[in-house]
């Protein structure tokens, strides 16, 4: 049996295990390890199982994940999220789905300072989920809003994934950032539109509240100042060059802690609860990183991704047909793999193909980043879905998956627009840089 066939079979086995409630991290890890044993032998698996658990947690850049989760936990305890949502609610709460749209807006604002989807989803989950629940929003819509909004962390620059694309393909990072700005705003707008349509069809998903009078609006706005201060310090500090985006997570966490203290919302008990909550999410996310890395190691050594790409190349189709086929391929692959692994594994084969077809590399970068980000919100394996489930008691994968469908339509619409109108990506960099 060829390694490629073993790779294909392993996908089926993986899906079977996941369907029967085997924890996803464990299913991926074990399928990867056993598959690796069959294809590469004992020594290879022994080495990989000894080094991946270390290497997938060790990189300094990953420190943002637990620290932003901690920031979110303190913010929630300090009532910051509540104040923020009271403020937003006072202004737009009387519109259907207003809070969900505001959440997308907040994700976009956060995405403008943070380069990671996971961190954006983790932070916004702690802030937004309890508030939307409190106001009787549908669980599926609320959680899917945050999951989709989380992808804005990467879609709106700065973005870790874009930097990696630029480096691998020798493109300008600044140019790619400029190119991604309008598509990022487009994504924000389309997510809001998706919420509008969904709540228009069924108002119970995001019930409208009574209109708040102006004096109360101003008093609600006044109680938002600690949030503005915290975000101001975090965003302002990055732009002023006081600290790097990676360090911002720690500054944000300590800022939220101090605000919670100042507001007398933090006692020993709630402090311990914040830590406990952070520990659960941290352990869950890092074990998934380990499981995914083991599975990717195996899939890569089967040569399956390369075979799929060369299969596509040899079809000899029209270049737009190939592009659409690639997009579909990435969306399917994204159901099982994380964004970064997909880029790292396939780019060496896809990129020469794309440039040989005469596509613009910066434009394709925007498309590629968009399409791998879709994978974060497609079940069964979608990191953003997991992060929100981990932070939300009682939320099942079924519920959040049901809610996510509307946002997947928004993603597909955005991809279509980006492919049809390259100017959406290429106009701004040309304006700024040429």
């Amino acid at each position: 049996m060829s390694p490629e066939i073993i790779g294909l079979i392993s996908f089926v086995v993986l899906l079977g295990l996941i369907a029967f409630r085997i924890p996803i991290a464990i299913a991926m890890g074990m399928v990867g390890a056993i598959g690796g044993l069959i294809v590469n032998g004992y020594d290879s698996v022994a080495f990989i199982m000894g080094s991946i658990p270390f290497e997938s947690v060790f990189p300094y850049s990953l420190s943002v994940i637990p620290l932003f989760i901690l920031m979110g936990a303190f913010s929630a305890r300090a009532g910051l999220s509540r104040a923020l949502y009271d403020g937003v609610h006072a202004f737009i709460g009387h519109y259907r789905g207003g809070l969900a749209m505001a959440t997308v807006g907040a994700c976009a604002a956060f995405g403008a300072i943070c380069g990671s989807s996971l961190a954006t989803a983790a932070t916004m989950c702690r802030v937004a989920m309890p508030e939307m629940r409190r106001r009787n929003y549908d669980d599926g819509l609320a959680s899917a809003t945050i999951a989709a909004g989380g992808t804005l962390g990467v879609l709106i620059p700065p973005s870790v994934i874009m930097i990696i694309y630029a480096i691998l393909t020798e493109q300008s990072i600044g140019r790619l950032f400029a190119a991604a700005l309008i598509p990022g705003l487009l994504a924000t707008g389309l997510y809001m539109l998706a919420i509008w349509i969904k709540t228009a069809r069924n108002p119970a998903f995001g019930p409208a509240d009574t209109r708040v009078e102006w004096p109360q609006r101003f008093s609600a706005l006044f109680s938002v100042w600690p949030v503005i201060l915290l975000f101001g310090v975090v965003i302002g500090g990055i732009y002023a060059g006081w600290f790097s985006p990676t360090e911002a997570a720690a500054i944000g966490a300590i800022g939220a802690f101090l605000l919670a203290l100042a507001k007398r919302q933090l006692n020993l008990r709630s402090f311990w609860e914040s830590l406990n909550e952070t520990a659960n999410t941290t352990g869950m996310i890092f074990l998934i990183l380990v499981g995914t890395a083991v599975f990717n190691y195996f899939i890569e050594t089967t040569g399956l991704p390369q075979s799929l790409v060369s299969f596509v190349t040899e079809l000899g189709w029209d270049r737009y047909m190939i592009l659409i086929l690639l997009v579909i391929f990435y969306i399917i692959l994204g159901c099982f793999m994380d964004a970064l692994s997909m880029i790292l594994l396939t780019l060496p084969f896809i990129y020469p193909l794309i440039t040989s077809l005469g596509f613009d590399p910066i434009w394709f970068g925007v498309i590629m980043v968009s399409v791998v980000e879709v994978g974060l919100i497609t079940p069964p394996v979608g990191m953003n879905l997991f992060i929100i489930m981990a932070g939300t008691p009682g939320l099942t994968l079924q519920t959040i998956s049901r809610g996510v469908v509307a946002f997947l339509f928004a993603d597909v619409a955005r991809l279509a627009l980006l492919i049809l109108f390259p100017a959406l990506s290429l106009w701004l960099p040309a304006m700024i840089m040429d």
């Binding site: 409630r21 924890p23 464990i26 000894g50 360090e247 352990g283």
Partner: protein, 172 residues
């Protein structure tokens, strides 16, 4: 018996995770101090990244046993929720067994790597901390996870055989 070991493991994993979170708070404080100090005198804390990496690694691996204990790992329960107790317990048992194998493999093979790096005398990039420090939380965390997973195996096997859901593992 099962309930007693559940209590004991529950509090052991809770304190271990708590220790991990102290490391996370440490990472938060060190990063902040580094930022403040280098604004003041331009120097910052020497070897911040080495320390942060050690602390994040500890935070992650000391938290993992608790995530097994509290069932925080993401899983799809569409099908098992509709199954009667016995078959559900069977899949619970398979999940616990696979978890046990995976964490055991991590523990054993990481221990080998750790030993090798120790023999080489590997040290961290800036501060020159022995790399074995970085492996300690990993090996401890995975060993404790093996114990927890083993405990979950026994509990779900007991449920499978007696049809008594001792730890209410099968949540409808």
């Amino acid at each position: 018996m099962i309930k007693q070991s559940h209590r004991i493991l529950g509090s052991v994993t809770k304190y271990t995770a708590g220790l991990g979170m102290l490391f996370l708070l440490g990472a938060m404080l060190i990063t902040t101090s580094d930022v403040i100090l280098r604004k003041m005198d331009g120097a910052g804390i020497y070897g911040t990244i080495d320390l942060i990496q050690l602390m994040i690694l500890s935070a992650a691996y000391l938290s993992i046993p608790q995530t097994f204990m509290s069932g925080s790992h993401v899983a799809v329960s569409i099908i098992t929720d509709r199954l009667p107790l016995r078959p559900a317990a069977l899949f619970q048992l398979i999940g616990a067994l696979l978890s046990c194998c995976f964490m055991f493999a991590i523990m054993v093979f990481s221990f080998t790597q750790a030993q090798m790096q120790n023999e080489y005398g590997d040290i961290s990039m800036t501060l020159g901390l022995p790399m074995i420090y970085y492996w300690i939380p990993l090996v401890i965390g995975s060993a404790l996870s093996v114990l927890v997973a083993l405990h979950l195996c026994i509990a779900s096997f007991y449920t499978l055989v007696t049809q008594r859901d001792v730890l209410s593992l099968h949540k409808p």
